[in-house]
């Protein structure tokens, strides 16, 4: 009986791998095609947005697998992780949603609230069809019948996606019609539970978990939320296979990822990089020296130039320091700026972006922000620094979402990396020579309920 069960399991696996539409080229997993290490993979190589004709010329039609869960095995072999910031294994999320009782909803998350990140928007402009392919494939993999794309409320971007969807409908590519839902311009609007609430017609406010979104999300249905970059990777892996995907990146963290780069000279943009690329290479630190490097965005962490100089863009390198590759934000703070002033601006922005739902966030973050501002303005004493540390411990892990935790992580790394500057400020001095703000902070904080929906 045991051997019979094994045989049938093997047989099923074989048919799994064999289920490919006629005419499609199947690559054996052991050999890597030539050109597999060429980047960019996700962004259009021409630099112009890839329209449907170009997308089909470069990648061909998307290959449905013919049933739920069929794609999950390839995703597991590929080792794809979520590109929204948490780097959660995608196949586990797909399996968790497919295992739920109800009919799942799939939402592509393109509403990066992180002001320092542009990669999702850039991807949606550059390769909308890869994302939309991935959306259909994810929906097939979990057996969903409802699919949404959640994106910034920018009329031009929405029109761009609408016309992409219209083109796909005419070509008969999509099995499920994709509903576009726009997000308010809030830092937390892309948080999973906020997204589920917004797609369900409510305000984009985070809620307490559990229940997690994968079991109780949009309108109470099990919901798969995947970052648009993860979906685009899904579209590529489904075509070119796990071995191709693993041709770049590290063994533990394979593949490429989109990064938003800010060089110390003020230039920058979105670039695709293999995971494991040295940070100094991405930020050209030898040419543009930096006072410090911010990785992972405003819920991320500061690194000293020495740390940044010896680390690569990978969680294996960054996690031991309390940082993470996150959604691929890398910013080199120019040497003539003050890290405390920049950090105080960011923490103030983060405090204002609190949904104001949980006491520790509502009462704690404004105090921390005000105190840090005192420090940045050279009006504080060492006792204030102790206060900030104490309050930080009080808000940690006490919010419905990770907003207080992320804010505290950022703040602590600032106090650690800019220790000398803290001492200088407490003595009433500052080493910065330029008052010009460096990190991008959007104007306007929420004041009305409508600002969240």
């Amino acid at each position: 009986m045991t051997s019979g069960a094994q045989a049938s399991a093997t047989g099923r696996q074989a048919s799994l791998e064999g289920t490919v539409q006629p005419g499609a080229t199947v690559q054996p997993e052991a050999t890597v095609q030539p050109g597999a290490t060429v980047l960019p993979r996700l962004l259009s190589a021409s630099g112009r947005p890839a329209d449907l004709a170009e997308h089909l010329r470069v990648h061909g039609r998307l290959l449905y697998r013919g049933g739920a869960r069929m794609l999950i095995h390839s995703i597991e072999s590929a080792g794809l992780t979520g590109r929204g910031g948490a780097a959660f294994p995608t196949h586990r999320k797909l399996t968790a949603v497919a295992d739920q009782l109800g009919v799942p909803v799939v939402v592509g998350n393109g509403a990066e609230g992180e002001p320092a990140s542009d990669k999702d928007k850039t991807l949606l402009w550059s390769s909308p069809h890869l994302v939309l392919d991935g959306l259909q494939l994810a929906a097939e993999a979990v057996g969903a019948r409802r699919v949404h794309l959640y994106l910034h409320r920018e009329p031009a971007l929405v029109r761009h996606l609408e016309s992409a969807l219209a083109g796909r409908a005419a070509a008969g590519l999509d099995r499920l019609q994709v509903g576009l839902v726009t997000a308010p311009a809030r830092f937390l609007a892309g948080e999973e539970s906020a997204l589920a609430s917004r797609v369900g017609g409510g305000a984009a406010l985070p809620r307490f978990t559990p229940p997690r979104v994968f079991e109780h999300g949009v309108d109470g249905a099990p919901t798969l939320v995947q970052n648009v970059e993860t979906l685009a990777q899904l579209g590529l892996i489904s075509r070119y296979g796990p071995a191709w995907f693993r041709a770049v990146g590290t063994e533990a963290e394979p593949g490429s990822m989109l990064t938003t780069i800010r060089l110390a000279d003020g230039s920058g943009g979105v670039a695709e990089a293999a995971i494991g690329t040295p940070i100094s290479q991405l930020l050209k630190l030898d040419r543009y020296p930096a006072r410090a490097v911010l990785v992972g965005g405003y819920h991320g962490a500061w690194l000293s130039p020495e740390q940044a100089g010896r680390l690569t863009l990978s969680n294996a390198d960054l996690r031991p320091l309390g940082a993470a590759a996150g959604a691929g934000v890398l910013a080199a703070l120019p040497v003539d700026r003050c890290g405390l002033v920049e950090s105080a601006r960011v923490v103030r922005y983060l405090a204002l972006e609190s949904a104001g739902q949980c006491g520790p966030c509502l009462n704690g973050l404004p105090r921390i922000a005000a105190s840090l501002n005192q420090l940045a303005q050279r009006r504080s004493t060492p006792a204030d620094r102790d206060d900030v540390q104490r309050w930080s411990a009080l808000v940690e892990r006490r919010g419905a979402c990770h907003h207080p935790d992320g804010t505290v992580r950022f703040l602590r790394s600032a106090l650690a990396v800019f220790t000398d500057e803290v001492t200088l400020h407490e003595a009433g001095r500052c080493s910065a020579r330029s008052p010009e703000p460096f990190l991008p902070i959007p104007a306007g904080s929420p004041a009305r309920e409508e600002d969240w929906s």
């Binding site: 609190s354 104001g356 404004p366 006792a383 904080s445 929420p446 004041a447 309920e449 969240w452």
Partner: protein, 198 residues
């Protein structure tokens, strides 16, 4: 005092005490909401007091009901503890008391099951307390003629006035509520104003 009059007086007395306690429970319930709280008391203390006092009220109320039925003079059937308007004695006024018991039972049972119910359902049932309170007051005034004069009337009026004042305060407080998105900016302004915050 004979055996019969003990029950009679016990029932009257516990009834009056229940009314006063219920008023206090109602006031505590009205005063504690998302933003308002009683001066000098943290919110969890107010809800804790609200809960404990309602239990105490229940003890007095139980005695009030049992002694009223046990009292040989009035002849109130046991059925009247649950089904309204089944008492031969003072059918209407006693019936109102039964209505109040039923409403209270709904409020208490849903509160005990609160963690297992949706907040919206719990809230909707808890609002029945606002119906229950006037029913209790009318039952008290109707069934007990002692309450219609003298210092017992004054006591009743004082409790009713206190509850109405609390409701008025709550409505005014709700009107002054800061919308949720504006709360953090307000806190930040406050924090900035106090400087180093110590």
């Amino acid at each position: 005092m004979t055996t019969g009059t003990v029950f009679w007086y016990a029932s009257r007395a516990t009834g009056v005490v229940s009314l006063v306690l219920f008023s206090v429970v109602a006031i505590l319930g009205i005063m504690v909401n998302r933003q308002g709280r009683l001066p000098g008391l943290p919110r969890f203390a107010v809800t804790g007091l609200h809960r404990s006092l309602s239990l105490l009220t229940l003890a007095f109320l139980g005695t009030h009901i049992v002694t009223a039925i046990a009292d040989g003079y009035a002849h109130i059937p046991w059925l009247s503890t649950i089904v309204p308007f089944t008492s031969g004695y003072e059918r209407f006024w006693i019936g109102l008391g039964t209505v109040a018991i039923d409403l209270m039972a709904a409020v208490i049972v849903t509160s005990l099951l609160r963690t297992r119910l949706s907040p919206a359902l719990w809230r909707a049932v808890h609002w029945l307390a606002y119906v229950c309170y006037p029913v209790v007051v009318v039952h008290s005034l109707g069934a007990n003629k002692d309450l219609r004069s003298g210092w017992l009337l004054a006591l009743t009026m004082a409790t009713v006035f206190s509850v109405l004042t609390a409701i008025g305060y709550r409505i005014l407080a709700a009107a002054a509520t800061v919308p949720r998105p504006a709360r953090v900016p307000r806190q930040l302004v406050r924090a900035d104003r106090t400087g180093s915050l110590r």
